[in-house]
Amino acid sequence: MNNKSMQEASELFFALLEQQVLPFTNDLVNNYNKNQEVRQGVKAMADAAGLMVMIGHQNIHLVASGIDSKFATSYTHMKSKYTGLKLKKYFYLANIIISIFIYLIDRDNNMRIQREEEGITYFKLESEISKTLDHWYKQSKINEEFSKKWQIDIEEIYPLWNNWPLKRGNEQDDISLLKKENKLGFIHEAIKPLKDQNLIIDHMVEYRIIPKEALYERIDLLYHRRDRFKEIKNLIEEGVNYGEN
């Protein structure tokens, strides 16, 4: 690899580190598309750092490739906030909330739908979370497919969520002022990693969460592709103990 390619590759890599997402109109991205050496260079740097370069329809993204990334993300920041046996369930709950949010906004067939502009309200998300936890809580005792470990976690998370009031304080309260020991306040906490990376608009006055285009691109790239789906399926089934009680 020559010096020029190396320099272009590192420039792009660092620009991505700084910006996280770059549009195709960016000159550095142009180099990437034209020059295979630049592509290899960027990939090598990303691989070494446990990162992944993804090419969307309009943007190029740099994201953590899994849990072994050398870099902190807004998500790992959240995780480190909830370490230790007692706090871990908060992190699990946050994961459930993020997943349900993505489930609610994920669109079929890449079609633009109302939700993209309107977003999901905190209340809709809250009721979906409650519904899901109820379902799991009831099912985990009778459904043999649930793993033992999952059952134990659900038994901890279910009361955690249900013992919280919907929100704390009077009606005028801004969500950001709510402490996390209530449902809406914790939703706000849980989606913060998405907000910190500019993937959503957390509209605290209207209690709405509006996904941005960059988030849709990532969902597309991560969960809509055959190869990625296979990978995720393998991850899920790795060392699986479904139903082993």
Partner: protein, 499 residues
């Protein structure tokens, strides 16, 4: 006077009573009687009955009696998969014909606010009336029904939403009103025209975005017409605009001052509508060209692939149903949604530098013909400078076994400026911190090894470092220069057994 100013002066109250009538007639459809279990579907069935009558009227078919309608309702119910109860079915048909008990034969009647009189006024109407010519009542024939003007309007109103000729219809309507000098009604109609064309522009924009997201969306039922017909349609519409503008001088000459003013306002709005119409035409043609280009140049994008989604396959298919093996698995699924957060900040002038780069490129665009192949040349890396800057770092690794980023704070201003003189200096430093690297002798494309070998050539005693691994920890002191901040990284050496 500006064009937009004319658009803003739409009077909210103008025609309120008439509008209320339309709304009422739609909302009261299918509510003439209690229809029991059919209540949730009464409006849908009632509309289908109106369509049935219209179709038969157009074909001059007399099968439009109450019995015919009851029979057709049964067909509708079967089609919709609903249970049909004789009594309810009859009640539903009767509810379209009369308000309340059929025998009483009452019209629908409501009190609505009339903005002109400032009072509530009675509004009575029917959806169906007896078609006297067809019924032969004298001979004892049954009542054959036909649509009233109001129910025709309901059908037209709902039809227009589906109709891609909507713009033409609206435009035709405007032109008729203007031609007849009916400027009061024309004003509202032009407003509708503007709204319509804005909607259509929005449609095209959404369609474009959808294609960019997924090229297979070109198969969406967006515009069924082929490009030739659409082009023709736009030409026709443009012609109608031109025709209307030709009337302008003619019409306004003969009118009173007041009417002239109203007329001028309308033509101003019309001009705005025409500009929007041109925008629309451009977008439609662009999208059609995009479709053709994708089909001809990138057919591979259109191959049917199995679509996976988080919603269906990951959430509904797996997690929601049977959970995960353990909650920790969520992490593996969600972690890649997030980008790394860097913990150092570039000097400000580097941000400016990239701005300058852009300027340079823009300038070269003007002289495109002879600079196109050159492009903008990135300044070459000053490798000698890199060697000079990194030599102390390797020395520190060699003698102390570690190097603290914060120690660069003690450099002189000149030395700091050397560090900042090219981006690659700091980037290379960060690369050592980011990922571990084993120092090896030889030719490598990794810039870090390249540098090591270059230094090794000059300082042979660095060969003691060969086979050692450079690691980083956040246990040092941070770099805190005025223009540069880096987290407290500390490089240190690690033994590697197996190299």
């Amino acid at each position: 006077m500006s064009i937009s100013k004319g658009v803003k002066t739409m009077d909210v109250y103008n025609g309120l009573f008439e509008r209320l009538k339309k709304i009422k007639s739609i909302s009261a459809l299918g509510t003439g009687r209690q229809v029991g279990s059919l209540a949730p579907h009464s409006q849908s069935i009632a509309l289908q009955l109106l369509l049935y009558v219209m179709k038969h009227e157009m074909l001059e078919n007399d099968q439009r009696s109450k019995e015919d309608l009851i029979n057709y309702t049964k067909e509708i119910l079967t089609r919709m998969g609903l249970k049909s109860d004789e009594e309810e079915t009859t009640a539903l048909v009767e509810s379209v014909i009369h308000y309340g008990a059929y025998e009483r034969g009452e019209s629908f009647s409501f009190e609505l606010y009339n903005e002109k009189t400032g009072q509530l006024e009675d509004f009575s109407f029917r959806y169906l009336v007896t078609d006297k010519e067809a019924s032969q009542l004298e001979k004892g024939g049954r009542s054959i029904y036909r649509l009233t003007d109001l129910s025709k309007e309901i059908i037209f109103m709902t039809r227009e939403i589906l109709d891609e000729y909507g713009f033409s219809v609206e435009q035709f309507y405007v032109s008729q009103l203007i031609k007849n000098g009916n400027f009061t009604d024309a004003r509202g109609a032009v407003d509708n025209l503007i709204m319509k064309v804005k909607d259509l522009i929005k449609d095209e924009e959404v369609f474009y975005e959808n294609i960019i997201r997924n090229p297979r969306n070109i198969f969406l039922e967006h515009r069924r017409l082929n490009s030739k017909i659409i082009k023709q349609q736009f030409e026709d519409e443009t012609e109608v605009f031109e025709k209307m503008f030709k009337w302008k001088t003619l019409l306004l000459k003969s009118e009173s001052d007041e009417k002239k003013k109203a007329g001028e306002e309308i033509f101003e709005k019309l001009e705005y509508a025409r500009v929007l119409h041109d925008v629309l035409a451009e977008k439609v043609i662009e999208n059609m060209e995009l479709k053709i280009r994708i089909r001809s140049q990138y057919p591979d994008l259109l191959w049917q692939q199995q679509n996976y989604s988080f919603k269906e396959h990951i959430w509904e298919g797996i997690i929601d149903q049977k959970g995960l093996d353990a909650m920790d698995t969520f992490e593996k699924i969600l972690a890649p949604l997030f980008s790394p957060v860097i913990d150092f900040i570039y000097p400000l002038d580097w941000a400016w530098q990239s701005q300058q780069t852009q300027f340079k490129e823009e300038k070269s665009l003007e002289d495109l013909h002879f600079e196109i192949d050159e492009g903008y040349q990135v300044p070459p890396i000053d490798f000698e400078l890199i060697k000079k800057l990194f030599q102390p770092i390797f020395k520190s690794l060699l003698y102390k076994g570690s190097f603290d980023f914060g120690s660069l704070d003690s450099l002189t201003i000149d030395e700091k400026n050397e560090w900042l003189s090219q981006r690659i200096n700091i980037e290379l430093l960060m690369m050592y911190a980011m990922t571990p690297i084993v120092l090896k002798k030889g030719e490598y494309s990794d810039l870090r090894l390249k540098l090591f070998n270059a230094l090794l050539a000059e300082k042979p005693n660095l060969n003691q470092l060969i086979g050692r691994r450079i690691q980083a920890q956040l246990t040092g002191t941070p770099i805190q220069w005025e223009v540069l901040e880096i987290s407290p990284y500390k490089l240190y050496l690690e033994e590697v057994a197996d190299e």
